[in-house]
Symmetry: C2
Subunit: 394 residues, 2 copies
């Protein structure tokens, strides 16, 4: 069966070596008169990118203020700070300079500014956004795909709750992408990014809707390309060609192109969110630690799909008489790929220590919201299934 779908990807992508030269013009074309430049740590400053952004806005005659300090797994406290600042400065456009954390923090601020109540209401399920300030992106980390997605994931400082919401309102007006800006990404972050990108597509590829062959073929093309390019850039971090594949794949993996006719599963993401919220690990590395266990937990009920993945993505030879072997070889090949790029394949490898029973209890409790919700779509997972997978991934 093919799932009916909507596809809406209005973000204007400006991709290439000279793309930063368009920033002023793009903000102006989108009506920005007072901009918040939102960013993370010092790398955007050190690399000179922030100076380029300031010059661009200055050159276009656009006023701006700045807010840095966004951390990975972006925090509600920073969002609140941004909302206050935007109101005080009468900001009408947010320019996110960074990766997924900065973009998501920008989206959350964008929701918060025109909203009268507490901005966390949207993630607590107490309110639904009806407005968002316009957002533009200068992307420096290909991973989260937030530059073209409807998603916004925020972590509440207290209780370390990491939660996501989706709305077309926060889709970015433009995304400026220069692969050269990713040359200096550390290997671990490069590998975690590639893992996250591949997972965004795999979370849509493993679906009970198995009839959309065009989407399957595009997803397989994307996965093979990212896998190959990731191996190259681990050895040659300044290879423009392969950095470009990863950067563009990051956007296509999460702008819903690979979901046309299928369905989000996102169980691995949901299981991982508890890891990165509690232990502060890099999201992509957390996904690598969980996925092989999730895959082995669900594969017997979805053998054909795991065989297709093994053969068409991981290059496993199809053993037609033993599909369960082919499927298992596909999962092993993913683990081998993770090892090659320095990603973990278990929670033990991720944290560098054994996780305790109490920690697993806490993660199951939070992921299932006290046993009240399930995760996943191809295979629906209740609290017991979550526990089983955490134990397998231990």
């Amino acid at each position: 069966m093919i799932k009916d779908f909507n596809f809406y990807a209005p973000t204007r992508v400006v991709f290439g070596r000279e793309s930063e030269k368009k920033i002023g013009e793009l903000v102006a074309a989108n009506g920005g008169k007072k901009v918040l430049i939102h960013y993370g740590g010092g790398s955007a400053q050190r690399s000179g990118l922030l100076d380029v952004v300031r010059e661009q806005l200055h050159g276009a005659g656009i006023a701006f203020c700045e807010l840095g300090g966004v951390v990975p797994n972006p925090l509600l406290s920073k969002v609140r700070e941004g909302v206050e600042l935007c109101r005080a400065e009468e900001v009408d456009f947010i320019l996110a300079v960074g990766g997924g954390s900065v973009i998501d923090s920008s989206k959350a601020i964008g929701y918060g500014v025109p909203y009268d109540g507490d901005v966390w209401d949207f993630w607590a399920g107490k309110a639904v956004p009806v407005q968002c300030l316009p957002i533009g992106v200068v992307l420096t980390i290909p991973a989260a795909g937030s530059e073209m997605s409807s998603s916004c994931v925020i972590t509440a400082d207290e209780g370390l709750l990491k939660r996501g919401i989706n709305s077309d309102l926060c889709r970015c007006r433009f995304a400026v992408m220069n692969p050269e800006r990713t040359f200096t990404l550390p290997p671990y972050q490069t590998a975690a990014g590639a893992t996250d990108i591949m997972m965004h597509t795999m979370e849509r590829y493993f679906s009970k809707y198995e009839d959309m062959s065009l989407t399957d073929a595009i997803s397989e093309a994307l996965l093979r390309t990212v896998k190959e390019s990731a191996l190259v850039v681990m050895r040659h971090p300044e290879d423009y060609r392969h950095r470009a594949q990863i950067m563009w794949a990051g956007s296509l993996a999460h702008n819903d192109l690979t979901e046309c006719g299928t369905e989000k599963d996102f169980a691995t993401h949901r299981l991982e969110h508890e890891l990165s919220a509690i232990f502060g690990v890099t999201h992509g590395a957390g996904l690598a630690a969980i996925w092989p266990s999730w895959a082995r937990y669900v594969k017997d009920k979805h053998l054909n799909r795991f065989v297709q993945f093994a053969v068409n993505v991981m290059g496993v030879t199809n053993d037609f008489s033993h599909p369960e072997e082919t499927a298992e070889c596909g999962i092993c090949a993913v683990e081998e790929f993770y090892r090659q790029i320095g990603m973990p394949t278990s929670i033990h490898e991720l944290l560098g220590r054994e996780i305790t029973d109490e920690e697993i209890d806490t993660m199951v409790e939070k992921c299932s919201r006290g046993g009240t919700i399930t995760v996943g779509a191809m295979e629906v997972l209740d609290a017991q299934a979550m526990r089983d997978i955490y134990l397998m991934a231990r």
Copy 2:
């Protein structure tokens, strides 16, 4: 090398069996208060689709007027009629119900209504559009890809000049796509549509920018899928699954996704435009008649790319020691595919008669605008090259 690129595909796609039920809501969300329903022949009426559209607008409380009679290779005279009608009726939204001809006629009307001069000025190169009425689409023929493209091709009745222009202004606000609506397409039109779709991607795949491996892989995925699905629907016209692949591929083939990092060549399109303008042939069939000759004319200078196409798209076994053989086998495989779906592979087969020397002179004269312009990008073709290819395709 990878070409810097912009990607902008803001059209909201609503895809599936129930998609027509969204028409009223979509027009309203896009601010339509007085709609022109623009369509072609009687099939939209006979199938009941026009009634559904009228009910939808009626149900949403939206006024409308109608203009039918758009022909394949849509004519300037109909565009002029539409512009007059829209002005008289104060139309603020155009709803195209049909395929590429109806959509392009709608785009041209959209350009013409707010323009003071003669609407043909845009195609004559005397003016550049700065405004366009908003346009929505209910797609019935997957082929032209106009529902997500920036392209608009119109034929001037006098002199039979067929010309295209591109602008983001005419990109459709939404496209409603129900594959069931394509079940009744005649085999010839189905085959010509699949040919046109594949050609839109091939015209971007054959490029001197050969380094964007993600785009290559996506293009190859799309081409393989359309080829396979076309063969199925020729035998099983009511196969929803394969009609769906072709329909969605038609949009992705021409929304610039397959051009990210590469470049439009479109020489085959430009050579074909003279055929369909003069002889009124179906555009997709005209492309099939020209492409093999274009391919043989340029292939020796771009052998690697033709080998990649042969192996990755047409499933030819790579004869590593004889790449020119592999490349030729790829072109032969395309011809064999055209034969299987009832498309021509020469102008003789297309017209059912030999083309005269005078007719070739006329086509070369028009395509080269009296020897003043070239066509193509991977290989630039002057008037002599155009003549050579027409003679090869004869």
